[in-house]
Subunit: 291 residues, 6 copies
Amino acid sequence: MFYRKSRLQYHARPDQPDPVYARKLQEVLGGQWGEISVMMTYLFQGWNCRGPQKYRDMIMDIGTEEIGHVEMLATMIARLLESSPVDAQEKAASNPAVGSIMGGARIEDILASGMNPQHAIVSGSGAMPADSVGYPWTSRYTVASGNLLADFRFNVTAESQGRLQVTRLYNLTDDPGVKDMLSFLIARDTMHQNQWLAAIKELEEDGLEMTPCPSNFPQDLEKSNVAYKYMKFAQGDASLDGGWAKGAAADGKGRIKPVESPDGVGDDDLGLAEPMLYGTPKMPMKKLAAE
Amino acid sequence: MFYRKSRLQYHARPDQPDPVYARKLQEVLGGQWGEISVMMTYLFQGWNCRGPQKYRDMIMDIGTEEIGHVEMLATMIARLLESSPVDAQEKAASNPAVGSIMGGARIEDILASGMNPQHAIVSGSGAMPADSVGYPWTSRYTVASGNLLADFRFNVTAESQGRLQVTRLYNLTDDPGVKDMLSFLIARDTMHQNQWLAAIKELEEDGLEMTPCPSNFPQDLEKSNVAYKYMKFAQGDASLDGGWAKGAAADGKGRIKPVESPDGVGDDDLGLAEPMLYGTPKMPMKKLAAE
Amino acid sequence: MFYRKSRLQYHARPDQPDPVYARKLQEVLGGQWGEISVMMTYLFQGWNCRGPQKYRDMIMDIGTEEIGHVEMLATMIARLLESSPVDAQEKAASNPAVGSIMGGARIEDILASGMNPQHAIVSGSGAMPADSVGYPWTSRYTVASGNLLADFRFNVTAESQGRLQVTRLYNLTDDPGVKDMLSFLIARDTMHQNQWLAAIKELEEDGLEMTPCPSNFPQDLEKSNVAYKYMKFAQGDASLDGGWAKGAAADGKGRIKPVESPDGVGDDDLGLAEPMLYGTPKMPMKKLAAE
Amino acid sequence: MFYRKSRLQYHARPDQPDPVYARKLQEVLGGQWGEISVMMTYLFQGWNCRGPQKYRDMIMDIGTEEIGHVEMLATMIARLLESSPVDAQEKAASNPAVGSIMGGARIEDILASGMNPQHAIVSGSGAMPADSVGYPWTSRYTVASGNLLADFRFNVTAESQGRLQVTRLYNLTDDPGVKDMLSFLIARDTMHQNQWLAAIKELEEDGLEMTPCPSNFPQDLEKSNVAYKYMKFAQGDASLDGGWAKGAAADGKGRIKPVESPDGVGDDDLGLAEPMLYGTPKMPMKKLAAE
Amino acid sequence: MFYRKSRLQYHARPDQPDPVYARKLQEVLGGQWGEISVMMTYLFQGWNCRGPQKYRDMIMDIGTEEIGHVEMLATMIARLLESSPVDAQEKAASNPAVGSIMGGARIEDILASGMNPQHAIVSGSGAMPADSVGYPWTSRYTVASGNLLADFRFNVTAESQGRLQVTRLYNLTDDPGVKDMLSFLIARDTMHQNQWLAAIKELEEDGLEMTPCPSNFPQDLEKSNVAYKYMKFAQGDASLDGGWAKGAAADGKGRIKPVESPDGVGDDDLGLAEPMLYGTPKMPMKKLAAE
Amino acid sequence: MFYRKSRLQYHARPDQPDPVYARKLQEVLGGQWGEISVMMTYLFQGWNCRGPQKYRDMIMDIGTEEIGHVEMLATMIARLLESSPVDAQEKAASNPAVGSIMGGARIEDILASGMNPQHAIVSGSGAMPADSVGYPWTSRYTVASGNLLADFRFNVTAESQGRLQVTRLYNLTDDPGVKDMLSFLIARDTMHQNQWLAAIKELEEDGLEMTPCPSNFPQDLEKSNVAYKYMKFAQGDASLDGGWAKGAAADGKGRIKPVESPDGVGDDDLGLAEPMLYGTPKMPMKKLAAE
């Protein structure tokens, strides 16, 4: 069950409106690695968690925090899209791309430069659950497999890709208010990377999961002669210079060896076509329909 | 540039047709964590790579291998969907779910149980680039950000989720031929998890990337007072028992401390609505249209 | 900012597992009119609201409640997918479709009937943010236009379609625990239909919006001679018997009259094709490429 | 069965080409609330209608009219994308953004500003069944539930959101020809809002449906103690000031009362993980694979 | 502008309900090659056509006919989902899969076998604009490029894939009423294949388009030394035995020759990474943020 | 099984960076008719092929070549997005739209004009598997039906639409390096159109498939009285002037005749609504829920 306080976790107020930047900022709200993705991923991982309570509660903590991050970004985007107070207006007047939306006279000029037209036509100056090209958020961005190691690895990824995108966006604006909020989100992503790395370590220490994941599958059932072989399919030898091509494996269970010219062993021909499905057969055949 | 040899990397021949299992196996061909996803992810990471050559070549090696895995699964699925040779036919005759497709008399009975109808109507007994519920593969399953640490973390995830799904599918069949092929894929996923973990270690040793990722963003620009704080938003104290809530951070750059009752600091109200977009205002206003 | 309590708003415990019904129940979790849709719709309407505070707070109240409904359904689905306690197990043993998942021996039989295979392969017995055919939830199911009348009308619809689907699902099970939870959701949908109808009435009384929506567009700018005309394009006269074809309009601003044989007035031909885009022209033309 | 007359329902001819506006206008052709959505929604509602004939015929009337609206918008967009006659050309010459497409010399300049590149590359100056960010139309925008009250409420919404978007687009252009056509569409949306409101009234008068929808579900089966309770989950008391929080309910069947501090009653823990699906368990367990 | 007659172009009445077959039949209503795809494709091709009038009118003829085909399939599916008259009921009683829906007692049994659950929960026994796995129709199935040869080739394909799917569905039922309607659709697909082949021939005779398409691009601008070379990238020589590997080209403008061992000529390395985007560079570099 | 050589099939190096053109070029990489579509289509057609070996090998040849085309375009796009060498830099300095990305000072100006923001935020100056509006590639762009005639017709279409788009893109740039690469791709599309046309001819000569496709369905089962009738649904007689309305059919099996006023024969009413699904009935009925 959830409750809400009418405060934002951190300030989300730009110094002046910037509808073009609002479009870009949508990426970390509704994009593949945006806040909606981590919010929904963590909530579903928590709701589906059958592991120890401390993991479940930790997942729900961060899931609940992320709802608040979605809120901060939605608020920031709505403000980037709205008319500014008078003194900001004068400052903006010298910037034709921003100023025009306030006068109301040539609002179309804004759209013509890099604004998302749906910010005017569809949401009426509000944020949208979509990314920077207007593609809607989809739940296929989320992961909740029931296996915590597989999922926490996803979570480290999400916090890395997310922090990467926010730092790029930090460099794409010089609005102090926007930069202030982004520096908050970047810091939280630093924490969350550390948080998931700690959780992975703890999973291993608790004896619940380890590499190769899932660790509860009996490894003697896999085709052991290829489980620690680096296979080189591309030309050149540079790839053999890395730790991935030889030496002790990271899972501590084998030594990796390179295979420089891997070959195939399976045949690839198919059998006969089913006549009643009208696939093209190897030889002409008589016409056939079901009774 | 790519070349092809008319062999499969490993055998992909079921002992007998099983259209219902063919539907399930689609998940690891065309699903979120299926072979098409890793094939496309690695190829695009390689093509976009601006890092050292050994990384680029390694990425292309595995990307090229994955095309062959897509091929193996496509072949296996097509065979699971096709008529069997005569002796298999007799054996199958005792299984009404499988036998019926061969006689041609009551092909609809198969579809009525758990087969994907598109395997008959659309692909004519062929594999499809879709998952186990028939949802088409989408490129939003792929990641190639230009930052190798962020991407390699995704790759470890992909090999973990992928191996997890293949082991589950291993338990969902008792066909020796299918199990044989899956044990090959499981072994390769073991190798590939190790491969990406080794690559992450090497990235750090080479001084190219580290936690927090991206490491080239100056950390003094982030809001440092929240960068190592665990915030508890959900009820209960269990989550404070983990290594994520206190102690040295995994990045070696801070010590984590818990915040048991996090509060908000930002206000959340928006400004006035733009009259010409007809959003609902705080007060009734006069009707307005552009000149 | 959001907080969470480790309780569900209402009980969500089935009397026994039923993976086939779990698939169906996904519709009201992650379908077009499921709880994720209303949760996201209301949250974004609230975050984008520039109207009076009482509307904004009311929208956020219900948006926050809906996160809890998503939680209840996710929990119920996870439980429908899991092993039951011993006494339920014995009862279920007589039902081959349900019993098999517990023994673990022939888990594939379940999938072969009506279960969603992703509930085993992808989520490991957890709920997914998808609908009853496995189609992922997409943010295009949400609406937040900035105009409260347009949006509240959507909300009444959502609570109507949602309640309709839950009552249908109520009839598709005889599990007392499931029916108990559904009767709670049905009651909340009753409240929420009333809630949005009251809000629409209040919007009109507050003079903020009315029919035709948006009411702030000057109606004298519309083509008035067709603004209150019922046009009959299909054969037969039955459609002229309704209140929509004649009499006072619902907006109180006109009288509707029927047009029995509407005709067109605009021409539909296009101009010449742009030669450099290689569209097919009316006459053969010489070959052309940019310099 | 359908027939076509080579006329448009109304004029659809811009005074001059404007490829940037053509992109925006796509929203009301192929967007969530565009003409394709209402066309397909009404046609499917009509084809699936099992209610009285007058409703069915009325739905088909408007569904058939909407095909003609799709036609008008497609024609308008194609014309906005094409070369203009000579006198318009001269006028446009002073506008570099528009003029360039005609000379053919620097067609890329257009695309660089706000044009949809697919209008050149994909459709060759034709309209596309997509929205203003190029996202394709999807049938998930449509609704046909079999319950006419639930569906008519959707239809009122569609005509409200649609009219809202067209009025916004009306303000984003100053081309008299475009404004003329939009004023026709706005008027029809006025009519259609009235039409669906009249139909809802008639449904109730005919005794077929009423609030709460669906009205044929026995209301004594819902959890009556929460069916008329307004629950406040967000901070602040402003939301209690509305008609939704107290007083007679709109359905005439209850009186609404507020609940200021709603609490949960259900527990949220899950049972044990199924070992063969390799979800993370509460305690370490032995490795397991199917025989 | 469009009109409607309350008749179907042909009978669409099954002998008895069959909800499982209804799901399959959705493929040719709302699938990639279903009737909605050709309806929308032809209508948009017609609306965007700038070629001679006879082509435009022909495209609109068939586009209008296809609306009627969508109608026939929607009606058939709705009837396959509904209760049958009494005498059919008795006949169906011996078929447990079909009989159960009529008694109303155990409607869930139907869904558990191969029915689409949305046919009950979402559409209430109505057809949906989706395919046989429930995936919604998307406008990316349509094509209208402005080049009639490219588009007519698509149309021949659509009528071929469509006819292929309908003949497969013909073999998947033994209901005389369904087979009767399908035989009508198969015949129309025969006509329409001939129609588009004739139109292609006429385009060439009229001198408007020919191979290679688009024919108005000056062929001397293409890299002529590879324009008629068959390149063999896969192992084995079987592919050289076809008319595609040698001899006169179909366009009458060149002679094809095989290249048995094609080689590459371009280098594939990229330049330096942009520091402010935090891509991984070739060498460690100093930390950087925008001012 | 696949192998890779570290060369591109042809040069892919622009004379100077052009991020705006990079966005447009994405269309033929990841759009409906882009190289990923033909790569995946041909690979799946090959893997699913049960016809003669020469067809299977030919399909795999071209499928393998297309992986290399995806590679060329991905490389070109990455280079269009990257900093240029010094001398190009000076040249570009006079073009404010291009020059700004190199200095790093005002990178946002680029995005504001026509660049895809994801090229900076998401891919870090790399190509993406998406089209020119940023819509992700989806496998619903592919076709592999098992019937070679139906599929080869699709392939001719794909090479026509693809070549059309590349020639349009050729006209949208004046960069010699880009034009050089495009002229290579255009030439290969010329070859591939010829290749598939030759393959269609050979299929017919081999007696495997012919018009109407699929030719193995017994034509006497189709409704013969409408199999060669041109039906005119739209106004005007122009459409009767084409070869499609009269004369010998292209399949050589019938003579086409026009039907100037086609009429319907089927009735379109549905039966009674199922009470427990709460669809709106023809008459008021008593409330009903399952026991």
